[in-house]
């Protein structure tokens, strides 16, 4: 194995090198210049993103263990965009609150991104699980990064995430052990080549349960509201998008690529989980007063739609799922960053803290409105196409009942999304001063805004890219 053999997974290698560089730089940086670490990370991430366009990332690594191509590249770009926006939006918060441990923050974040970027190419169960853990363990750390600075809540949030996450890891590993053991190999392309047996069914289910935790499928979502509420907002913004993308990528690879023959086992279960997720997410959000909890439940609801895309079949459904994820990443990051901006101004995290935002900071309020509309799936912002395409895919796959259920809950979702918008535009607040938003955070919000509006006006390029990615993943395997 030499360096050229690793070319297809160059993005992961570059990210790992970036993590090492940030860690080393941190060692030799005086506290006063530490805030530059954020910009260093931002620059490195941008460079990797550029590299994803310039390098040739096709081909295989180490005899089928890792495979490049359109699929991992599409997902890698999603992860990188999520990372870039998180770093940009959280930079000032991180520099102010955690001045002396920024280096570690960015190192761990970059390592997490490394795991994510390597995940979609994995064609071996062991590599898949290790990458999945490389994505997961840094998230526990990042969630707890506020430590005891502001009371016990962040620690509790991280502990809940960790305990359920570690339990899910045990489930995943046990399920994977059953599957790999019965097949006699860890190569995912031949995981179910022998005759089907009940143990394989159980293995699939345990694996599914372990993975479902990461994406917050009900009833594995229980940690979501608590962790979102307690953890620092920039981390939550990242946590609410990137691991979900990773989790769904893993599900596609496990369910559609490795275990398509067991669809009679996981298909109905996923369908039920999808319906349950839509119900719990959308109903749970209605009664919330804390904006982060509301967004947590709304995120659970959104997962239901992504799951619908995943269920809807190989190429088209997976492509539409990818588009949904792309729209979801920019939208959800945007809405969390607006909430972050409001909270940073000392207005708290309740929905009533948005009161009068329309008059205090019209641009912030307008961004919030557009993000909410996108989440609600109102034309013509990114979220509309996302829902629309997923529904089309589901209809084509014969899931018309789920389309009706999804449409019903999309209407229910209006209640709570508009509740927030109403606070911003209709409710009156005693406060009149403008909310000061730092330049980096404003830049991140504007980037999300442009993406949401741009995807709404012209979704075609991303749709085409998602189709190409889905084609490249479904062309492999049995």
């Amino acid at each position: 194995m030499n360096f050229h053999d690793l070319q297809p997974m160059a993005l992961g290698v570059l990210l790992a090198a970036a993590a090492a560089l940030v860690l080393l730089t941190d060692l030799f940086t005086k506290p006063s210049t530490k805030p530059n670490l954020g910009w260093l990370t931002f620059g490195l991430l941008s460079a990797v993103l550029v590299a994803s366009f310039t390098l040739d990332l096709r081909g295989e690594v180490a005899s089928h263990v890792w495979r490049g191509g359109a699929w991992p590249v599409f997902l890698a770009r999603l992860f990188l965009v999520a990372g870039l926006i998180t770093v940009l939006g959280g930079m000032d918060h991180i520099a102010r609150k955690w001045t002396y441990r920024q280096g570690e923050f960015y190192t761990v974040l970059l390592l997490c991104l490394t795991g994510m970027v390597l995940l979609p190419g994995a064609r071996d169960l062991v590599l898949l699980i290790v990458c999945f853990e490389l994505m997961g363990i840094p998230l526990y750390i990042l969630t707890a990064f506020a430590k005891t600075d502001s009371g016990p809540k962040p620690v509790e949030a991280a502990l809940k995430l960790f305990l359920i996450g570690a339990g899910s890891t045990a489930l995943t590993v046990f399920g994977a052990a059953l599957l790999a053991g019965l097949a006699g190999t860890t190569d995912m392309s031949v995981l179910v080549s022998s005759t089907l047996s009940p143990l394989q069914g159980i293995g699939t289910m345990l694996l599914l349960a372990g993975l479902a935790f990461k994406i917050g499928v009900a009833p594995f979502h229980m940690w979501v509201p608590d962790t979102y509420e307690g953890a620092p907002t920039p981390v939550v913004a990242f946590l609410s998008v990137a691991p979900k993308v990773g989790g769904f990528a893993t599900l596609v690879m496990v369910l559609w690529q490795a275990l398509p023959r067991l669809i009679h086992v996981w298909g109905p279960v996923t369908l039920v989980l999808c319906a349950l997720t839509l119900t719990v997410g959308n109903l749970g959000a209605i009664a919330q007063r804390n904006i982060k909890r509301l967004l947590a439940y709304s995120g659970v609801g959104q997962v239901g739609y992504v799951l619908l895309g995943l269920l809807s079949g190989r190429e088209f459904g997976v492509a539409m799922m990818l588009f949904y994820l792309a729209a979801y990443v920019v939208t959800n990051l945007g809405v969390f960053l607006v909430a972050h901006a409001v909270a940073e101004a000392g207005d708290g995290e309740t929905i009533s803290s948005f009161d009068g935002l329309g008059r205090r900071s019209p641009w912030l309020a307008m961004s919030l409105l557009l993000f909410l509309l996108s989440l609600a799936g109102i034309p013509f912002v990114a979220g509309f196409w996302a829902k629309f395409f997923v529904f089309v895919a589901a209809w084509r796959a014969g899931q018309s009942e789920m389309v009706l259920v999804g449409a019903l809950f999309a209407t229910v979702a209006l209640f709570y999304y508009l509740g927030v918008a109403r606070a911003a535009y209709v409710n009156v607040s005693a406060k009149t001063e403008k909310i000061v938003v730092s330049r980096a955070l404003a830049g991140a919000i504007i980037a999300c805004l442009l993406a949401v509006v741009g995807l709404g006006a012209w979704p075609s390029p991303v749709v085409e890219a998602a189709m190409a990615a889905a084609r490249s993943v479904s062309g492999i395997g049995p």
Binding site: M1, N2, E104, T114, D124, V130, L134, P198, I202
Partner: protein, 265 residues
């Protein structure tokens, strides 16, 4: 039933009994000891199945590392004084129901899966076991990439554990009052910084031990596996002392400063 099976059942039920006791006793330190015994039982099972290297690793890593760490954890959080390690009865019944449902599902599936005891490899290779060389080739062959990624995982764990466990960040001014409900025990907690830093060392030992095999493999497989993997592979062992040396003294200094402060009022 063969003699191997009988002995497997015997050791297995001992292991299981220890595991159940670990989950059931009220004293946490006792639970840890039962847990250690259960892990040893697993090691014996490994050895019976021809995985002697793994049995050794099991003793080294789990019994020597994890159990000791957990005992540290119990001691340092001073919770061994509380004996109520398990929850109320109704919670235990609830837990038992869930685990029994899962067990029932598993047993049912095991009994309905044909051909478990007659696999092609069972007769020929099984008795011989997998040699260390074979394992090493696998670890750096098909699992080479996973191995590299694992080293990144350990690096992340190490950095994260250090940054979470240390009381004060290096370079941070010491004027701030610590936030925490239990100020009484804080001097004692200071001591935790170093064991927590030591933990990753234990974790990294997996990587280290496997790395020992690397030269053998390189020779045996005669593959040019030299240049690149070294970058990330040696990252973790290389990084670790650096972090140790920079963080630990500062931490100790901070701890001293803090305890001095804490003593004054």
């Amino acid at each position: 039933m063969s003699s191997l099976e009988i002995s497997l059942y015997a050791v297995g039920s001992l292991t299981l009994a220890c595991g159940l006791l670990a989950m059931g006793v009220r004293n946490l330190v006792h639970a840890l000891l039962w847990f250690g015994l259960s892990l040893m039982g697993t090691a014996v099972l490994f050895a019976q199945l021809g995985a002697s290297f793994l049995a050794g690793m099991q003793i080294l890593l789990y019994v020597g590392g994890v159990v000791m760490l957990l005992i540290f954890g119990v001691m340092l959080t001073r919770e061994h004084e509380h004996l109520g390690a398990v929850r109320e009865v109704n919670h235990r019944i609830r837990a038992a129901v869930v685990s029994l449902v899962l067990f029932a599902a598993l047993v049912m599936a095991i009994l309905h899966t044909p051909g478990l005891d007659q696999a092609p490899g069972l007769a020929s290779q099984a008795t011989a076991g997998v040699t260390l060389d074979q394992l090493a080739v696998a670890l750096l062959g098909p699992y080479g990439i996973a191995f590299e990624v694992l080293s990144l995982l350990l690096l992340a764990t190490m950095v994260g554990a250090i940054v979470l466990a240390r009381k004060r960040d290096p370079g941070e001014p010491t004027g701030r009052k610590p936030i925490g409900r239990q100020n009484l025990g804080k001097q004692r907690i200071e001591g935790l910084a170093s064991p927590i830093i030591a933990l990753p060392a234990a974790a990294a030992s997996v990587a280290a031990i496997a790395t020992v095999q690397a030269p053998t493999v390189a020779v045996q497989a005669q593959a040019p596996q030299t240049t690149e993997p070294a970058v990330s592979e040696h990252e973790s062992p290389a990084e670790q002392p650096t972090d140790d040396t920079t963080d630990a003294p500062v931490d100790v200094a901070a701890a001293v400063a803090l305890s001095a402060q804490g003593d004054q009022p």
